[in-house]
């Protein structure tokens, strides 16, 4: 099961006291120079040629006042959930906007670079500066982990959705005329795909008010008994909806499978080629219209 990209898994980072001190020192610097740092960040990013116009949306959400308060609550008051959720939303948005992994990671790098001069500027000793540097790292690690996780999970969902779309494309139901549907079946069929085929066909009959459907198996190299059964079931189900299903393009091998199955061939209107099948279909429809 794919996780929900917006659900935060770990509610708070497990930091030692020393780490918390480091991060809070970093926050002091960031908070004190918030606008300047973000301006520097924007400049840094605009210098990157490959980042493009999408970067505008990324930079603004790092800079807004609400984000600042959420981060303050997290770093200084140990209230992490809202901030982590905001990071997750950001990750999801980047994935949905098609921003690449490299692009949003480069924002994080640019942030560190932008922060640099302001850390040096501070009247602090080297130990303090090291502490702040560590703090920046701890913070950006958390941010990257949450954004990255949500980004990844969103991408995974996108891939699954695309696979679903491809599966739908591979079971097309074509309307040839007012009451005639053609379902050309191509490739290997497994039980799952067979079920989809049947569902598509039956829904097609209902939606398009078809009275004859032609299932063409020319593109199906082999069938096993499960699939053959499914085929028979589809023919029977179509009949329950008042439609006649013709099966065309059965290869010699597939014919043998059907015979071996003990399929009642009188139940199956099989016609050699697709062309002959379509002619037969037209006759069936014409005859019915004469009433």
């Amino acid at each position: 099961m794919i996780a929900d990209p917006l659900t935060v898994s770990d509610p708070r980072p497990r930091w030692t006291k020393a780490q918390v001190t480091d991060v809070q020192r970093f926050w002091e610097v960031y908070d004190a120079h918030f606008e300047e740092i973000n301006t520097a960040l924007a400049e840094e990013l605009s210098a990157e040629p490959e980042l493009g116009p999408l970067m505008a949306s990324i930079t603004t959400d790092w800079m807004d006042a609400q984000n600042r308060e959420l981060l303050r609550d997290a770093l200084m008051h140990d209230r992490w959930k809202p901030y982590l959720e905001a990071l997750r939303r950001r990750g999801q948005t980047y994935a949905l906007q098609g921003i690449t992994f490299r692009q949003w990671i480069s924002v994080v790098s640019a942030f560190r670079v932008a922060l640099g001069p302001f850390v040096l500027e501070e009247q602090r000793d080297d130990l303090d500066r090291l502490s702040i540097a560590r703090g920046v790292t701890f913070y950006t690690d958390i941010a990257m982990a949450e954004i990255g996780q949500a980004y990844l999970e969103t991408k995974e969902r996108q891939i699954l959705d695309q696979q679903e779309a491809i599966r739908d494309l591979s079971t097309p139901v074509l309307q040839l005329s007012e009451e005639l549907l053609l379902m050309p079946i191509v490739g290997m069929i497994d039980t799952d795909r067979a079920r989809r085929l049947t569902e598509s066909l039956l829904e097609g009959i209902a939606e398009l008010r078809a009275r004859v459907v032609v299932m063409d198996l020319t593109g199906v190299p082999t069938m096993d008994t499960a699939v053959a059964n499914h085929l028979m079931q589809t023919v029977s189900a179509a009949r329950l909806m008042g439609a006649t299903a013709l099966v065309t393009g059965i290869s010699a091998e597939n014919a043998q499978t059907l015979v071996r199955l003990g399929v009642d061939l009188s139940q199956l209107d099989t016609i050699g080629s697709l062309m002959v099948g379509l002619e037969h279909a037209a006759r069936l429809l014409g005859r019915a219209r004469e009433g």
Partner: protein
């Protein structure tokens, strides 16, 4: 939930309501049989589009209605079996065994018209 039966010319049209149970179907069987007799209807359209499940009992009852009406000189067409209901019926191993079916009321009336015209044409004058 008594199924209302409408008369349209030589035909009877009965629309089964959603959530009908066994008792309703049995009642329908009696009502249709009676009405065919009393109105001399020649065709019956049974609309089951509101049914979300057709199990073994309902399917058997539909078949019985069709056979009973035929014995009384009328043809019954079952219309409106939904795609997913048809699929489930077949998986369950149920069929309507030669009882005419059609997509909806309009298609069902057309089927009846066609059959009755054929029968009339074939009848000895």
């Amino acid at each position: 939930m008594r199924v209302p039966i409408l008369k349209q010319g030589e035909y009877l049209i009965a629309t089964v309501q959603a959530g009908s149970g066994d008792g309703d179907m049995t009642q329908l069987m009696h009502d249709v049989s009676y009405q065919v007799g009393s109105t001399r209807a020649r065709g019956v359209v049974l609309d089951v589009s509101a049914l979300d499940v057709l199990d073994s009992y309902s399917t058997r009852t539909l078949r019985t209605i069709a056979h009973t009406t035929r014995l009384r000189g009328a043809t019954t067409v079952i219309v409106g079996i939904q795609p997913e209901v048809a699929f489930a019926m077949i998986q369950l191993g149920l069929g309507l065994d030669g009882v005419p079916t059609a997509l909806d009321l309009e298609a069902g009336l057309r089927v009846l018209r066609l059959e009755l015209d054929t029968r009339d044409a074939a009848a000895p004058s």
